[in-house]
């Protein structure tokens, strides 16, 4: 394990048994979270991104289990943890999590302040008065005005955005080293989402946290992350810095994902569209899971799963197209356009800043 990785997942397999059938949610997932960075995990529903997050906190549903692979956190393999007692020192204390729906994370019968205080006191061993002050400070830090008053209020007196701030306060109150955000803004309005994203970014900087940000929205990825891992059918298919993945994607799935975005399309032209839908996780997948939907697939994609090919020291992708034996296959046109913009942006870094609503 390299010293600047705080969390390292390798070849993780997780499956669930559902009424006698086996559902494989993670099929050999590998990724690394560096100290002090924000890594976005992007994928569609069923890609396994939320299951991945749950394994970091030992919160898999009862019918699910880690089959193989490892999750190394601070020299310990979390994948081997079996008892609640082992998790106690990690969950909420060193690794904290924020969920999509803030209401499920808050107890409706207790004041918001008390809930956060209990969480913080439990993990930091503070007395009542000190912890109360710490909570009020945290509430202020996450942008909740009049923290003394808000401390005494109940969750239903908070708006959706404020609730998510309170949940964030509870998560960071014990100063975790790793913060996992599972689609924290999906249920929020765009203007509120922008504020919450700004908050998470500034907290990450100030508290020196490492953030694993799970989302399906590539816009959110571009906004919060330094690095990104693209997931498809229980596997990371591409990992690299946001610039590398957005401007020089290599995996056909990443191409398809980016090229199908209307925000990057040209009006009047057809968008690139991915045919079909992701494969059923109940079935055994042979070769590359994306092959049946990929018009640029090679015959080998249907036979053998591609390994991870390095593109640069910080960028790799799982596709046979990077094999020296593969023919030269061009990315879709809109991806080529992205590449051109990258070279332009490098020449003239001030230019991109003028865009208020982005370029299309």
């Amino acid at each position: 394990m390299s010293a600047d990785n705080i969390l390292e997942v390798s070849d993780l397999r997780v499956s669930f048994s559902l009424r006698g059938k086996m559902l494989t949610a993670l099929r050999g997932t590998s990724l690394e979270l560096r100290r002090g960075e924000t890594l976005a995990v992007v994928g569609e529903s069923g890609s396994g991104k939320s299951v991945l997050a749950k394994t970091f906190l030992g919160m898999l549903d009862k019918n699910g289990r880690v089959e193989s692979g490892s999750i190394i956190f601070d020299g310990q393999d979390l994948a081997r943890y079996t008892t609640e007692k082992q998790w106690l020192g990690i969950r909420g204390k060193r690794i904290a999590m924020i969920f999509q729906d803030p209401m499920t994370a808050l107890n409706p019968l207790k004041t918001v302040g008390e809930q956060i205080r209990e969480a913080a006191a439990l993990h930091r061993g503070l007395d009542r008065r000190t912890s109360r002050l710490a909570v009020i400070e945290t509430l202020e830090r996450v942008g909740i005005g009049e923290p003394e008053l808000r401390y005494r209020q109940f969750p239903h007196e908070f708006s959706g955005g404020m609730r998510q701030r309170a949940v964030i306060a509870a998560a960071v109150a014990c100063r975790p080293e790793v913060l996992i955000c599972d689609e924290p803004t999906t249920a929020l309005d765009v203007t509120v989402q922008a504020q919450i994203l700004d908050l998470i970014k500034s907290l990450q900087r100030d508290l020196h946290m490492s953030v694993l940000f799970i989302t399906h929205d590539l816009g959110v990825v571009a906004s919060v992350a330094q690095r990104v891992a693209v997931m498809y059918s229980g596997q990371v298919v591409e990992e690299g810095s946001v610039e590398e993945v957005f401007y020089d994607p290599r995996a056909p799935y990443t191409w398809a994902l980016l090229a199908s975005l209307p925000q990057l399309g040209v009006k009047g032209e057809e968008l690139y569209s991915i045919k079909g839908t992701p494969p059923s996780l109940f079935k055994e997948i042979r070769g590359d899971a994306f092959a049946p939907r990929n018009p640029q697939a090679l015959e080998v994609d249907f036979v053998e799963e591609p390994p991870a090919f390095p593109v640069s020291p910080t960028h790799w992708a799982r596709t046979w197209l990077l094999d020296p034996r593969a023919p030269c296959i061009e990315a879709p046109r809109s991806i080529m356009r992205l590449r051109e913009r990258l070279s332009k942006a490098r020449k003239d870094p001030g230019r991109a800043g003028k865009a208020s609503g982005g370029e299309a």
Partner: protein, 310 residues
Amino acid sequence: MKRPMPDLAPELFRPALFDEAAAELTGYAHYSYWRSTMRTFLKSPVSIFLLALIVVLVTASFIYPLVSPTDPNRVDLDTATWNMEPGSGHAFGTDGLGRDLWARAWYGTRTSMLLGLIIAILDVGIGMIAGALWGYVKRLDRVMTEIYNVLNNIPQTVFLILLTYIMRPGFWTIVVALCTTGWIGIARFVRNKVLMIRDAEYNIASRCLGTPLHRMILKNVLPYLVSILIMEAALTIPYSIGSEVFLGFIGLGLPLDTVSLGNLVNLGKNNFMLYPYQLTWPTLLLAAITISFYIVGNRFADASDPRNHV
């Protein structure tokens, strides 16, 4: 991440043919609601066994009176035939008047089953229609809620006893007594379901297409209630049979010349100290019927919930 590279033939590195129709099929799953419900239901051997038991009991109780020459009410004046132990030519023995208990058990089961079925059909039928209207027609809500409160707050037993006192004891009296209170619970259940379904997006879609109310109820609401109604019916049957036994037990049941499980239990209990078999057999039969219906009903309810399907 590093795995040994498998030996791959270079010709594999050719573009593959892309089949758009095959890609379209990746999202497609064979699934049928009723097939999955049945499959989930039949997965448990207990359910299969109990369902088979119900089928056997119902068929036998309706066929027996047609094929057997034994009259369940034939009193034998020969005292030697009174209170005979099981075996001895009478499978379940005889009672204090020399009547054949085997025959009486089947006749009794038939009466009780019939009672249960009729009450279940009436309860569910009335409850379904009333509940659907209650849920759909906003003006009815106040009235129905009041009716519900009144009916629901009178203790069931008191109501049953009162009604059987007012009316002459008989088969239909029990039907009326049980139905008067039974339908409202189902109606409320249906109403709550309808309220949930009424504003679902697919119903708004139907309204946007100008679908008339009767077709909305027929196509958009009732199919969602079928499994619930089957379950309700399956649970009403043992409840009604049990109620009849209870009324018989306190002497307000069917007339003594009608053979029913209630009357059998009632007579059996009088001779229980001397001839325990006269109570044991009807009670065991009763227990088998009610428990089977109850478990099968609940198992079916679980199986019909799509969340339990794979």
